[in-house]
Symmetry: C2
Subunit: 740 residues, 2 copies
């Protein structure tokens, strides 16, 4: 039915829709207090705001044009940022600088990595592996301030990644000259993916097999100079190339390195742990595990980064959903805001709850890591057996917990970005939405610093071993405490239908189901050991890898829920009850718990913690909580406290004025061209081309002619043969008689 044009309803401007969203949420919670609660406290939040403000004004941290820079331009800009950050690294307290880097990692992940290659990996390798004299030597060479040297971390090889023990590069001790000879024996041993190698590094921390007198002592670390720091010319025996285009993080100059008989002084091998004397005696460390402790810091910071990255994507998606209108429903004369659709709420709000859970968990994880680091630092050759045991236990706990969390949190963040991107419809496919590059940058977090699948299996392996400890009567710490109440926890069930949605019940459910999946993995392992004669423990573990994977997955979801809930309990004792902060977080915590149960429903049903109808109630609760939190969804994005500059997406703007800014952004990034640059070369020849004119071939009138030729051949067969013979003679003559 046609409608009169004059009578048509006009939607309010997006800015207005956005202000109404904030009005609507008024009184739900104290925004500033919730921001503090989720941001690690008032002082951290204020520091973060200061850093965001500084970045926004720093011309080198311009973000709006990054999607249209070439790889070469991105590389140069990324390197340009080193100078000011190197200033802060030496002039700011460590904790404060780390906070700064947390902000930088959200604004510019590639810079964060490239800078981190020197300060996190290269310097980290020195810190954990160098003797005191070695350390002061490298400090005098400028390693702390980047004055005179820039380091990179040459571990992985073309054919060798996760398995460090399988690396091929050799460091052969030459006792005549007191040197090591660093050598790449084959193409597959080429150092690969080395961040900083292609352009910026003067030195590398090289992982190579120590060979002394024909014996292979496994992988150790050596500092190898790559370039002359004055001219940046490659040193003799060093071949380096650019790894080239990557999925994301193109600001990092990843390179490959081949060493051909490169000689370094013996003192360039890091000798805090393993040692080689002047005479070629090799001394192995008592505790090889300590060597890799520093690598854990990367994982821990990735959990925090995953939380913030997910919050960034969700801020864009939820604000867009608040102002975007699509289809009319019911009697509404206006199109409906996306955020009003139950399915859209369900697409985004459980992910928001998960991001908040990851955020709280990351603070716990950081605290655990710091405890461990302190113990590790005070640990020395004079430590007694008990101290050694304590530090190893701590290292093991940090390792197992960080492995599983690193894997699932980086996966969660990646999935969140993708779901946010897709929730923007077509606009999510525009580079200027900011989400495609977020995805491409995040993807590698699931691979480096321990491939997620491998880490997951390690976490599952550690759970299997904890289960074995538990049935032997050991008392397990923190996140594993549910294994302390075996066997009751395995058979517990939701007490009543009415109690199904309480936080205590959800916790009991996670404990029950986590214990059961861990038990299942343990049983499968034992069974594999028993039923396959002569099988090693390693092989038996491979045979239960699917069960280990499931155990790690369920355990990690339950762990996030537990950490969220513990933070909530702690908060409840400090926060005024009337400001809505605790009440709001309680809803978010319940949403996370219920939704994660829904996602893992098969286990809750299989182990009969919930009945099918209780599961339906869980599903209904997720839908209900989504609808309830929808009302303050925009205010929740405000509490994530990310500036428009950091968000770098016209579609996620604070003020909601998305279309005008998106349009302006697209126009600015793509200046008008009167015609395509290739118009004359390609388009004009195409549309003005003429048909090939094969039709003209009819003019040849071939078939009549062929008939004539054939008749002639048949009639004058003999004559032809004679003629042919004459021709052949003529040709022969020409060939035999040389030209005069």
């Amino acid at each position: 039915m046609p409608t009169p044009v004059d009578a048509q309803a006009r939607p309010p401007a997006p800015r207005e829709t956005m202000s109404r969203e904030r009005e609507r949420a008024q009184g739900t919670f104290d925004l500033e207090r919730l921001t503090y609660a989720m941001g690690g406290g008032e002082s951290d939040v204020k520091l973060k705001r200061k850093f965001m403000f500084e970045l926004e004004r720093d011309p080198l941290f311009k973000l709006s044009d990054i999607h249209d820079l070439t790889k070469a331009e991105i590389r140069e800009r990324t390197m340009s940022k080193f100078a000011s950050m190197a200033y802060y690294v030496t002039n700011e307290p460590v904790a404060q600088f780390q906070q700064r880097m947390n902000v930088v990692s959200v604004a510019d992940p590639a810079f964060w990595t490239r800078f981190g290659v020197h300060y996190g990996l290269f310097l980290g390798a020195l810190r954990s592996g160098a003797t005191a004299n070695q350390m002061s030597y490298w400090m005098s060479r400028g390693v702390i301030t980047l004055q005179g040297m820039v380091g990179c971390f040459a571990m992985t090889e073309l054919a060798h990644g996760s398995n460090v023990a399988g690396l091929e590069t050799t460091a052969t001790f030459d006792d005549r000259s007191d040197e090591f000879v660093i050598h790449t024996p084959s193409v597959s041993a080429t150092k690969w993916w080395i961040g900083g190698a292609a352009h910026s590094a003067t030195h590398a921390a090289v992982f190579a097999r120590l060979i002394v007198k024909g014996m292979d002592y496994g992988t150790k670390t050596f500092v190898v100079p790559l370039r002359n720091p004055k001219t940046y010319q490659l040193l003799p025996g060093i071949a380096i190339g650019d790894i080239g285009k990557k999925m994301g993080r193109d600001g990092i100059d990843n390179g490959w390195i081949q060493f051909t008989g490169v000689r370094i002084p013996r003192a360039y091998m890091l000798m805090k742990h393993a040692q080689v004397t002047r005479e070629g005696e090799v001394r192995e460390p008592a505790l090889a595990q300590l060597t890799y402790g520093a690598l854990l810091q990367g994982r821990v910071s990735m959990v925090a980064d995953a939380a913030v990255t997910a919050k960034k994507a969700l801020t864009i998606a939820l604000r867009y959903a608040a102002v975007r209108r699509q289809f009319k429903t019911g009697d509404n004369p206006l199109e409906t805001q996306l955020l009003d659709y139950p399915i859209h709420q369900r697409r985004l709000l459980p992910l928001l709850a998960q991001a908040v859970a990851m955020g709280f968990t990351s603070y716990r994880m950081t605290a655990l890591f710091e405890e461990m680091s302190e113990e590790l630092e005070s640990f020395g050759s004079d430590s007694d057996e008990e101290e050694t045991k304590a530090v190893l236990e701590k290292l093991k706990e940090t390792h197992a917990t960080s492995a599983g969390l690193k894997a699932f949190c980086t996966w969660n963040a990646l999935e969140t970005i993708e779901k946010c991107r897709a929730s923007l419809g077509g606009h999510g496919y525009s580079a200027y939405s900011g989400l495609p590059s977020m995805y491409n940058d995040q993807a590698v977090q699931c691979t480096w610093e321990g491939d997620n699948t491998i880490l997951t299996l390690q976490s599952g392996r550690s759970l299997v071993s904890s289960y074995a400890d538990a049935i032997k009567g050991a008392t397990l710490p923190g996140g594993l405490s549910y294994l302390n109440s075996l066997p009751e926890v395995l058979t517990t069930a939701c007490p009543t239908d009415a109690a199904a949605l309480e936080l205590d019940t959800l916790q009991a459910g996670w404990d029950c189901v986590s214990a059961n999946v861990v038990k299942q993995a343990h049983e499968k392992f034992e069974q594999a050991l028993k039923s396959n004669g002569g099988i090693t423990r390693e092989e038996a573990l491979e045979l239960c890898s699917q069960e280990r994977f499931v155990a790690a997955k369920v355990h990690a979801s339950g762990y996030l829920f537990r950490m969220f809930r513990e933070a909530l309990i702690e908060l409840a004792s400090n926060e005024p009850a009337d400001n809505g902060v605790v009440a709001t977080l309680e809803k978010i915590c319940t949403l996370y718990g219920c939704w994660a149960i829904e996602e893992n429903a098969q286990h809750f049903l299989k182990y009969r913690f919930f009945s099918p109808s209780q599961m339906d109630a869980i599903t209904a609760e997720v839908t209900r909580l989504c609808a309830e939190l929808r009302n303050c969804a925009v205010l929740l994005t405000d509490s994530f406290d990310l500036s428009d500059h950091i968000l770098n997406s016209p579609l996620g703007r604070y003020d909601g004025d998305i279309y005008n800014h998106y349009f302006a952004h697209v126009q600015a990034a793509n200046p008008h061209e009167p015609v395509a640059p290739y118009f004359e070369r390609v388009i004009k020849p195409l549309i003005e081309r003429e048909d090939l004119g094969f039709d003209d071939a009819d003019e040849i009138d071939l078939d009549e002619e062929l008939k004539e030729i054939q008749e002639e051949r048949e009639g004058d067969g003999e004559d032809d043969k004679e003629e042919e013979a004459e021709k052949v003679d003529k040709v022969k003559k020409t060939v035999d008689e040389p030209p005069k």
Copy 2:
């Protein structure tokens, strides 16, 4: 423990490992026959091979360098391919040309789209909307051969995507001049994402609201000239810009268009359906649904494309997994092939089974679409009521089936690419692996031609309505036939533990669970209708959107299984029993059925089709089948029949020689530079910088001085005041007396 270097085992070269894989699989199945079975038959497979061979030799289809081209270069190369394809489109039978395009879509998705914008969308709009006279007019203007015009399809707007009825652009009839005035009333009405608009199109099929005498008749289609075909200058009133950088498919010149009072003749409105007479009388079509029939072709071809794309990603990942070695297990002196790890088999082989299922389903889907198209084409204004009803039923069935399949198959393909990419570890992050760009190209398939979430809900809505029909006693066709045996199907269960893994049981399970989730959605809908007074059907449908989503998801998985199985039964009657083809496909079909059940386990448990221990048996069967199919995994990738040129990934090479070719590829793509181009500008100033020298500030000796100043001030207070007064007088004088 150190080991003697001389005694170390050396792994065989990757090429050798790869040949052993093919030897190992020998005798499992007849490769050529399996290739025909999965490729749509012998003649289609041979045609496809011919096309791949042609592409490989065509310099314009060079693929190895695409990752390092700029956006401008990709755009130009993409456009260059138009000429030869335009030749084939007019010189080849339609069916054969479609086969060619199926190959092209895998080799170059951006070209496929850009070319398809003209031939699929613009020409499709003419075919379904133009009268006979209009059609011959545009044919005489060169629409078939691109000689004189190139079309684009201007539907979506900046603020309006999926809801075509909500578009803002107006086409106002001016009865004095017999013209329409095309106008963009606001920024949000800017035509957006229009492929071909930025550079190549001369004309657009514009979707705009038809306004006649102040009345709005809703969205119709108008052909609007954009550029002078001779000069490509924009016509008056047309503003066009480049949309710029996208997540993928940068070869397409997506643009935005604003119309400012652009006049077109009345005859440029497509009038097969809605019509406007010279006098301004508007005649609406009896069957508005028929207008969008042509849009379905895109969806149908996307199901086929999803299957091939998934197979392409899996070929790379499985071949890489066959030659990549990592970690030692057991007593093996060599590192283990990734493909030997149970977890790696589980990551890839179920996805392979799913890709095969999608392939078989796509053939069925294409057949259904072709039936519908034939009926639609023979349909005219002289068709009687029965014919009309038949064509509408067919359209509805095709719509509902294609909606759900388009959504889940494009999602499946996207997920498959991502999982394959991640399974390559770090190398999956290299652009040269081919997988990052596959992901970025595929992502948009989940959004355009109907956003997947919206299509899923449409599919769910159609299932709810089918359920209502079924309980009223209607007999439902094909993939919905399980609803014909209500209510028995709802309460059926796996008969015995022994029967759990049979294909018949799996089928019964899918029928039972599909019927139950559809029932649940229907009940939730009825309940929403009843318990909310005065609610519309539309609103009630929104309230059960989660249940509709779940219903559509389960139904789609079950549908893929059913189609696979039907194809298998058909094949079994034609294929010799001893060549292993049917036996192998049966395993793959069982793997798909069991794995998809595992993925949807909660429903199979909830509706008690399987007991928890039967579910464990399903899980064990997935693991077992993965291990069994591992033996012929490489040969299965061969049966997907994709050339190395099409794969364009040194890591997925047929011969397995991955490291040498990957290294050579990286070197060729990134020529050696002696130092970074920005060395003098950025790196040298950084590493040669000196400290800021704030320490020197001590030389100022400020505090002693300040004390002196203060003492002077306190001692000679009066003098100072006098001096001050003098100074003020002086200044006043200067101010009061104007300069001479």
